[in-house]
Symmetry: C2
Subunit: 361 residues, 2 copies
């Protein structure tokens, strides 16, 4: 029996970027986690206006969404001070990263990232038959200089950089990011993943300049807006970059209810400040928790905090122990980051469950 | 200024498979259509159990969906008498068609379809740099023999066939489809699009045989289940075909609320029979409408009816006239099908709006 897979698909391993918490629950006799703080999902709610708009739109689920996401792009263009045709809405940054790889990196081409950074980028690079070039983190930070050097050395058409970073929660300030953008060579595009940017305590996003074709920026409703399960995000970039995405995206791929919820979220200007405040408080609690136990916690501009357990074995054992005690948590997969556990910010009850299980270790 | 697009993306035109009704409304001073019967969306509701389940799940939109769609695949496997690992859930048949093309057709390879059949398949074939081979319809029916001959002649790894067909609503019976499946050569996979299968008045789906690696079947919640805007569908096939999809799909690409709604829809066994009855009645009304005007309407097993206006110019003028009079309708794009308009089954009020506008032409 032979299936006529492409040679690329024949070679691909059957991997997935992440194991979901439901899979772990099923492996544990369907015991539901008491604290779900491993996937950087928001514990700080959804805009009540978005919930209301989504509720009202459910009976219209029989209609496809507007494939142009016109109203949403109009609102986003206004927020970001760009033109509508400089925005592409799609079903999550994961999907946008796939399109971006496909649009820029030919089979056999190269893409650059940091070793230990967001695995779904790597999944897409492999999935389109390209070679992944990685550079090490510098301590617990992505290293813009190393990314730039690798980009130049390999003449890579695409380089990935997240600010703030996942899985470490670290960041570079706006001028450092601007320096990287300005140094990107002519035949490269920088994929600047700003999924967590709304959680930053100080302004670290450089001004958006869509006249520059060498950077494409990603924003999402999955994190601060609390809509990961709705799958909606967008890219901002030079019109030619956005046109490239429009040539290959799945035009009718966006959930209608998600699109309506995203629009209501953007319009609810009261919502994000509340989330930011809750997140700052929850981060402070994790910092205090770590310091009370003489552990180093890395300051974070995201909705999770990396806590250093000083040994990979210990971190792995802790993740397993936590899972057995009702806490879903993940840890970085690569040295030297994998001495840490990534403590997601949860509700007060989730945090207490975590602390109890941690201290029982 | 140069963007390092792949040579393929550089060559691609900026086309989309369809223009959405919202675009037409914007072009018409934001006048909303009174009858939205052009995109084969269902006018016969969503399972009340699905609506309830989706409503209850909205506040959990901050959680990603289970990337394994375990419970949904379990329920679907039970319905279809197959194993869970013979099912792949994804965000709509459009997305599954893209993955299937990508998995089987290399750049420069060939894929076969009928001239005038579902354009989104063609969009993906172009998008992955493959060559589209088309065969003509036979009258208003897809022609399985012609598809088979072209497949053999071009040694194409992928051939698309929809049963029932869109845009004509016609069908082949189960034995004819079985004959096609059995004749598919070893190095080809038949993509059997059964998006409209639940609307068939007689059983036209051949038995599902997942031991056969030469066919992959697509089913959706977009049509009979009335959830097009939720973007959820699935493929059924040989485990190796499903593994291929799993190697490249966007594992966290499914909307959590959609997944929950789909599961509730499958479990609501009362729902589909009601929809089927409403659809049969609505089809009969369109047949009567045509016959009262001495027009030929093609018998349909879908939620739309092709009505022959005997001239392409007349059909085009009618579509424009209808749009100006509040009726969103589409027509087939290719000869000899484009003498017809595709009358989507709507609510009673939508149908009356359509009839009024039609008769005023």
């Amino acid at each position: 029996m032979s299936i006529p897979f492409t040679s690329l698909v024949n070679k691909l391993p059957a991997t997935t970027p992440f194991v979901g918490p439901e899979t772990l629950e099923r492996q544990n006799n369907n015991t539901k986690f008491k604290a779900r703080i491993g996937a950087n999902e928001s514990a700080f709610g959804i805009s009540p206006k978005a919930i209301k708009a989504m509720q009202e739109s459910l009976p219209y689920s029989s209609w496809y969404a507007d494939p142009e996401s016109y109203e949403l792009r109009e609102a986003l263009a206004d927020v970001h001070g760009v033109k509508m045709h400089e925005i592409c809405v799609d079903a999550g940054i994961d999907s946008l990263l796939g399109l971006t790889v496909r649009m820029l990196v030919p089979e056999g081409g190269k893409a650059v990232t940091s070793k230990g950074a967001y695995p779904t980028f790597n999944y897409h690079v492999a999935g389109f038959g390209a070679e992944l070039i990685t550079v090490p983190y510098k301590g617990f930070h992505e290293d813009p200089n190393a990314l730039l050097q690798a980009t130049l050395e390999h003449q890579a058409p695409l380089t990935y950089f997240a600010n703030p970073d996942n899985p470490m929660g670290t960041w570079h300030n706006a001028s450092a990011v601007s320096d990287l953008i300005n140094a990107i060579p002519e035949n490269t595009v920088l994929a600047l993943d700003e999924a967590y940017i709304e959680f930053a305590e100080t302004p670290i996003a450089p001004p958006i300049d869509t006249s520059n074709p060498r950077v494409i920026r990603f924003r999402t409703f999955s994190k601060a807006y609390g809509m990961a399960g709705q799958r909606i995000a967008y890219a901002i970039g030079h019109p030619d970059l956005i046109s490239g995405l429009n040539k290959i995206r799945n035009h009718f791929g966006i959930n209608r209810v998600a699109q309506i919820g995203a629009l209501a979220s953007v319009q609810d200007t009261d919502f994000l400040p509340q989330v930011r405040e809750s997140v700052q408080q929850a981060r402070a609690k994790v910092m205090d928790f770590a310091s009370a136990r003489n552990l180093y916690a890395e300051p974070s501009y995201t909705n999770f905090v990396a806590v250093d357990l000083e040994s990979t074995d210990k971190a792995k054992a802790m993740i397993e122990h936590l899972a057995k005690n009702g806490v879903f948590m993940r840890m970085p997969g690569v040295e030297p980051l994998n001495r840490c556990i990534r403590v997601g910010l949860g509700s007060d009850a989730e945090f207490e469950t975590f602390v109890g299980a941690f201290d029982a270790f």
